[in-house]
Subunit: 149 residues, 2 copies
DNA sequence: TATTGTTATACTCTATAACTATA
DNA sequence: TATAGTTATAGAGTATAACAATA
């Protein structure tokens, strides 16, 4: 197995290296795809979680997405400033802030999702449906090894 | 196909989302694995490229790794300060800085690689050799879509 | 003109520590 | 005590613009 075939040497056989590069490629194209919407990867993810579980609080969103409580604050503030979600005190537990997506938020999710699906098709052009599912499966199994947030 | 099975909703079917999470999981474990060596993912990658192509200049390393010229400067300075590489003017093109790994750098690559291999085995525990190769193959095909640096 | 290295700068992501208010 | 939200802060990754020296 000629590793000198690649100018990358040992790197070429490291999953972590290729994960980093593939993530970078996806991120760059995502950024271009979402231009004009004001959404970044994290913001869309949060918006989508809140939309899926109306009334959820910040900490739970953070746990689902692997984002620390402290870092959630400014992200939620951004989404509120953009008029995409609103936040109110949970009457049953006044420590919690209950989050809900606004109508504008719902509309932006729909629009964003369209752009994201096009972006994913672009990045996965040439992949069969089988390969796409296998990739998702393998990535999910790696995620399962992540430390709790 | 019940997407409501997952609290992640649409996210769960997005490759970009899982790529982000899997990358995060790998990165966190890499960080722990390399504690004490002073190496981060990028530093090891640069070191490894320079070791594989002695005399290479900063721009070429950056192009191989997808790192911008401007951001290479401080990274190379770090490696020099750590005594892992040295830099000298290329006599044939005095704009270029020729990079070479020191003996200490070579030793640290060897030590780091051992730790990285253990880290990868940990993250890919339960993966067959076939699955590991398939994952590498799929990731490489995604990388190929990255914009030039 | 184009390229290499460089400086300066800004934005984002991630992490930790410490505080408050509630439970 | 434990948890939710918050503030402050620091380190790291990534991006652009502009400049000097060299090709």
């Amino acid at each position: 197995m000629p590793q000198s075939t690649s100018r990358l040497g040992v790197l070429d056989q490291l999953t972590g290296y290729h994960l980093r590069r593939a993530f970078g490629a996806f991120g760059a194209d995502f950024h271009i795809a979402m231009e004009g919407t004001g959404l970044r990867q994290v913001l869309f993810a949060i918006l989508s979680i809140v939309s899926n579980s109306p009334g959820i609080n910040q900490s739970r969103v953070g746990k689902l997405l692997g984002i620390k409580r402290a870092n959630m604050v400014s992200l939620i503030n951004e989404l509120i400033d953009l008029g995409l979600i609103f936040r109110m005190e949970d009457p049953r537990d006044r420590r919690s802030m209950s989050l809900t997506v606004t109508a504008a938020g719902t509309a932006l999710i729909r629009e964003g999702l369209k752009k994201i699906r096009a972006h994913e098709e672009r990045m996965l052009a040439g992949f069969t449906d089988d390969e796409k599912q296998i990739l998702l499966d393998l990535l999910r199994r790696i995620e399962a090894r992540a430390p709790a947030t």
